[in-house]
């Protein structure tokens, strides 16, 4: 088989370009489907908690609706865009998805047990605790997936919520709406832009 140096050079450049395009394409597809979920959660959190701030008397119903909304959204997302629909699949990514899923599942009974265990607590304490717990989950996943951006964002929102709880409890719901919901939206958008 005879190949000229020009042809060899061209072939090598084709290999490099295709290889890079595949890497970028896969990272972008994976980031896109995670960011969809973050943007959705961000919007639900932002709108829901802002509503609680101005309709405190209906807080329980709004928060229950929020929880149900987040759950339905997640289930729909897993069903429509979960790992089975991914453009690239592997045993390793399926396992990782399963472990992250169980991490969020297990967080809930622990949260419930701690609220019962430390009772009596008032609504604001439970609310601040739940928000910081969600941010803990966020920060751990940042460490897990090597994203300092997510870790720093999780810690910053936690600090904002704790400060709000201590200094301005009357506006905590709005603050959490902006800080928590805003964080998820920002992260979702950041991921989409970074991996466009």
């Amino acid at each position: 088989m005879n190949v000229s140096t020009e042809e060899a050079k061209e072939s090598l450049s084709v290999v490099q370009v295709t290889n890079e395009r595949m890497h970028r394409g896969v990272a972008s597809a994976q980031a896109r489907y995670s960011s969809d979920l973050l943007v959705l959660w961000g919007l639900i959190w932002l709108a829901g908690l802002a509503l609680v701030q101005f309709h405190r008397e209906r807080a329980v119903y709004i928060l229950a609706g929020l929880g149900a909304g987040a759950l339905v959204t997640t289930v729909l997302w897993i069903w429509r865009r979960g790992p089975k629909q991914a453009v690239v699949r592997s045993d390793a990514s399926r396992k990782t998805f399963r472990r992250v899923f169980w991490f969020w599942v297990i967080l809930n009974p622990y949260a419930f047990a701690w609220i019962l265990l430390l009772a009596p607590l008032d609504a604001l304490q439970v609310f601040a605790f739940m928000c910081t717990l969600a941010m803990f989950g966020f920060s751990v996943l940042g460490l897990w997936f090597n994203s300092p951006f997510v870790v720093v964002l999780g810690l910053t929102v936690t600090a904002a919520i704790v400060l709000g709880y201590l200094l301005s409890p009357a506006w905590l719901y709005l603050l959490a709406a902006l800080a928590g919901g805003g964080t998820m939206l920002t992260t979702g958008i950041h991921m989409r832009i970074r991996w466009r």
Partner: protein, 194 residues
């Protein structure tokens, strides 16, 4: 090259066996010493608290300092053996893992500050279950089911101790059903999974 179904099944079984042995060897090297140290801390701390309640702060202060120092020594020794053979990426992964514990304790402190426990027993049960939750997270992160089940099991026994055992026997219960499983698991995987 063609191989029969039987040969293929044998090869697969051999691969599975190797993976399982490797996993156990890693658990024996990396998890066992920590479990033994903290198992001893829990057992002695709770027994000490049961019999010498008036010295509770001193007992836990001393034991936690010793436990933290032993953990640091184990980490350092493991790092010296492990780090030179690893790539930069794997070393960064090790660093991220070690950042998990400060992050976790920071959050535990935040939660305690927000929820302000009303009694010592509440605070103790919260801290024990929180640490066990961290075990579960680490277990999920590193695919170590022994850590996941240990974390969930000790959480269940802590809650059982809080709600089902008379408060006077809570510490005795926690020494047996909390520290005991940590110590026994650490010893078991250290001795049997080498």
């Amino acid at each position: 090259m063609s191989i029969s179904n039987e040969n293929a099944a044998e090869s697969l079984a051999a691969v599975e066996d190797t993976i399982s042995r490797t996993r156990k060897a890693i658990a024996s090297t990396y998890e066992s010493p920590f479990l033994i140290v903290w198992g001893v801390v829990w057992v002695s701390g709770f027994l000490g608290t049961h019999f010498f309640l008036q010295w509770v702060n001193w007992i836990w202060g001393f034991l936690c300092t010793v436990g933290a120092a032993a953990t640091a020594v184990i980490c350092w020794r493991q790092f010296r053996v492990w780090a030179p053979t690893k790539t930069a990426g794997e070393r960064r992964m090790g660093l991220r893992t070690s950042l998990f514990w400060p992050l976790f304790f920071l959050y535990a402190f935040v939660w305690l500050s927000i929820m302000e426990p009303h009694s010592g027993i509440q605070m103790n049960a919260f801290l024990c279950t929180a640490v066990m939750f961290a075990y579960v997270v680490i277990g999920l992160w590193f695919d170590s089911w022994i850590m996941v089940f240990l974390g969930l099991g000790v959480t269940a026994s802590t809650l059982a101790g809080l709600y089902l055992i008379p408060p006077a026997y809570y510490c005795l219960w926690m020494a047996l059903a909390g520290g005991g499983p940590l110590l026994v698991t650490g010893l078991y995987i250290g001795l049997r999974w080498k």
